[in-house]
Amino acid sequence: MSVRFHWSLSQVGDKFRRANATTDMKGLFSLETQIEFCRAAEESGIDSLLMAVGFTRPDPTVLSAALGMETKKIKFMVACRPGVISPTVFVQQINTISAVTNGRIHINIVTGHSPHELRYYGDWLDHDQRYQRTDEFLSVCRAFWRRDGEVNFEGQYYQIQNGRLNTPFVPGERNSPEIFLGGNSELAERLAIKHANCLWRFADSPENLRSRIPEITSQGIEVGLLVSVLARPTREAAVRDANTMVRSLAAKQQFGKEFAQRTDSTAYRSTLELAEKSDSQWLTPWLWTGAIPYLGSPAIALVGGPKEIASAILEYKEIGISQFLFMGWPDLDEMIFFGREVLPLVRDGEAELAGAAKVARRFSYGSC
């Protein structure tokens, strides 16, 4: 199977995510700019665009419906927080989009990483309770997606009696969207195995990731990597740009530490620690933590020339990573460069590996 690539749609033109104070963000967006981004993604071999959720952004579901009307191929990975919407309405909304986009919708379940922000939305549960509620939420959603009669559910957070929905998930060959779920905690892992198609992990070196992955993939779900990309024609140019970026960010606020004190997300905290504990900013010759103190955990980045990035991706593929969710600085340029310069090398590498595997299989048939 080829590795699948997703990209994060920067909805409000937040070029350097988290580099600016949230008070400076407007929450307004240009639909035209985003349609252009969607079309560029279609041309760059991107499977879907992450539509993130948060108080600084427009609503990802509504925006996806509008963008879906203006595009033909790209899918939308809509982020969703269970505590803010009835699961019945959520399924009704996702199914409504699926019907006009011919199923071009995935969902990315986020259990939430900032208790402060969750209270804006009237959500007061703690970390573990939120996971329990997410479990219930997805159980209800999946029951609606099965379409095998009325939905009845008796949980601690949701009670549903004789639930029905007329709008199905379209197209019929899948009766539900692909479900992605992020998190590094054990709770997240268990929840993903129970309900999701793919678990997102923040990047770490293949060395450090290797041990956990087979356990997860052996339970029938995929593991994907959430990582930023900084690719330039040569490794030298990439490293130079990375350093320049950090110098200009250093003049601004230190985002990471302040955020780490407020978050209750295991994944965010452990990536920040990774950056702090390490002696060097380079976990491998291409995995860079230098931007994390300024831009937060998602800023852990693959840095290098097309060859280095492609071989890093293939290295991850070998340990069982099958999907990537990328971010870039800025997103559009990085995505176009990735599609033009890096992706073809990845596909070549995959073909070679497949060829080698075929030879190896033939060889082993021959020998027995």
Binding site: V12, T22, M25, K26, G27, L28, F29, L31, F55, T56, R57, P58, D59, T61, V62, L63, A65, A66, G68, M69, E70, G83, V84, I85, S86, P87, T88, V89, Q92, Q93, N95, T96, I97, A99, V100, H116, R119, Y120, Y121, G122, D123, W124, V140, E150, V151, Y158, Q159, I160, Q161, N162, G163, R164, L165, N166, T167, P168, V170
Partner: protein, 385 residues
């Protein structure tokens, strides 16, 4: 004419502004009449049909319709997203999104609505209903009783308004919602408003109170003008508008309209029979739906106000039946007592709206112009004296 400034910053001038007419958006497979009870079993209704529905939107624009009602229910696509979809194709019409509380957190709801407003330049109104079917609500995880739902709905709208009114941070401590330092970056985008108009539907005392406190218009099912007049006086005194939800069966002649109405329900005597709707009415806890059903005992409430379809099509099927001139007169009678908005529907869906736009609406506008001219003449006279 008195102009009053309401809580939410809009002014009401009873009787002087042109009437506003909204129409109900038909769903896929709904070209002719379909009883509320039957909608539940029609699979086609659940699927958005952007091509046909955008076409309907454009016709509505040509007919002088202000907004299209996109209603909410388990049998239909989600209204917020349907409006986002149709609003990309139809560039002038507004959408009235029907929702109830108990489905979203207020911040989430405001965020979705504000996002939609930015996409379609504020072409949206809200129609908040407390809900009429406990059975359906339980399918959404909502188990509150009629009165508790009103209490929650009032909190819901108060919290939404706190976000729209643009304070730095929203703090709200209610029985149903608790918000701390709430912030949202995406504002409500509109050429002339910082929050959507809110039509509150429902016939009960709680609905009326909710409309006065959190709404811009109180919408109820039609009844004869005399009965409506008494009910809306407190609402109008609070500078909130009053509106009516009704159906329209208009044909070139009175007789033709009556025939069309009777044909719709399959014959003259059918009207008094309780059939498909009985089970629906027994299960609802809506005060106005039950009352409308009772009105069905009397087939003609006025020469043009007909209840014959109520027991076949559902409580919203109280209809004005008549020639264009008769309908225009009936509408003006409502305007005289202070009604300023109507949400209409009819059968067949498109043809009725086109007939309204072509034959009825111009007559209403003409009558409005005549009254305005008379009013001007009167006020000039009084200045001269």
């Amino acid at each position: 004419m008195a102009v009053a400034e309401t809580l939410h910053g809009h002014s009401v001038e009873v009787g002087s502004k042109p009437l506003r007419f909204h129409w109900r958006l038909p769903y896929a497979g709904e070209s002719t009449g379909m009883a509320m009870a039957d909608q539940a079993t029609a699979a086609a209704i659940g699927l958005p049909d952007p091509k046909a529905q955008i076409e309907f939107c454009r016709h509505a624009e040509e007919c002088g319709i202000d907004s299209l009602l996109v209603d909410f229910g388990f049998a239909k696509p989600d209204p917020m997203l349907l409006a986002a979809i149709l609003g990309q194709g139809a560039k002038k019409i507004k959408f009235i999104l029907a929702y109830r509380s108990g489905l979203f957190s207020p911040a989430m709801f405001v965020q979705q609505l504000n996002t939609l407003s930015a996409l379609i330049d504020g072409r949206l109104l809200l129609n908040i209903v407390a809900g009429y079917s406990p059975e359906e609500q339980r399918g959404y995880g909502d188990f509150l009783s009629h009165d508790a739902r009103y209490e929650r709905t009032e909190e819901f709208l108060a919290a939404c308004h706190a976000f729209w009114n643009g304070g730095a941070e929203v703090n709200f401590a209610g029985k149903h919602y608790r918000i701390e330092k709430g912030k949202l970056k995406t504002p409500f985008v509109s050429p002339d408003r910082s929050s959507p108009e809110i039509i509150v539907g429902g016939g009960s005392a709680q609905a009326q109170q909710l409309a006065r406190r959190e709404g811009t218009c109180w919408m109820q099912l039609a009844d004869e003008p005399e009965k409506i007049r008494a009910g809306i006086s407190t609402v109008l005194a609070s500078s909130v508008e009053a509106g009516l939800r009704l159906c329209m069966i208009s044909r070139p002649t009175h007789q033709g309209a009556v025939q069309a109405a009777r044909a719709l329900i399959g014959g003259e005597h059918h009207a008094r029979k309780s059939d498909g709707q009985t089970a629906f009415i027994e299960k609802t806890d809506s005060v106005s739906f039950k009352a409308a059903y009772q009105r069905g005992d009397n087939e003609w409430l006025t020469r043009t106000l007909w209840t014959g379809a109520v027991r076949v099509q559902g409580p919203t099927a109280i209809s004005l039946v008549g020639s264009p001139a008769e309908i225009a007169d009936a509408i003006m009678e409502y305007k005289d007592i202070g009604i300023s908005q109507f949400i209409l529907s009819g059968w067949p869906k498109l043809a009725e709206m086109m007939f309204f736009g072509r034959e009825v609406l111009p007559r209403i506008r003409q009558r409005e112009a005549e009254r305005a001219a008379k009013g001007d003449a009167r006020s000039r006279t009084s200045v001269m004296n």
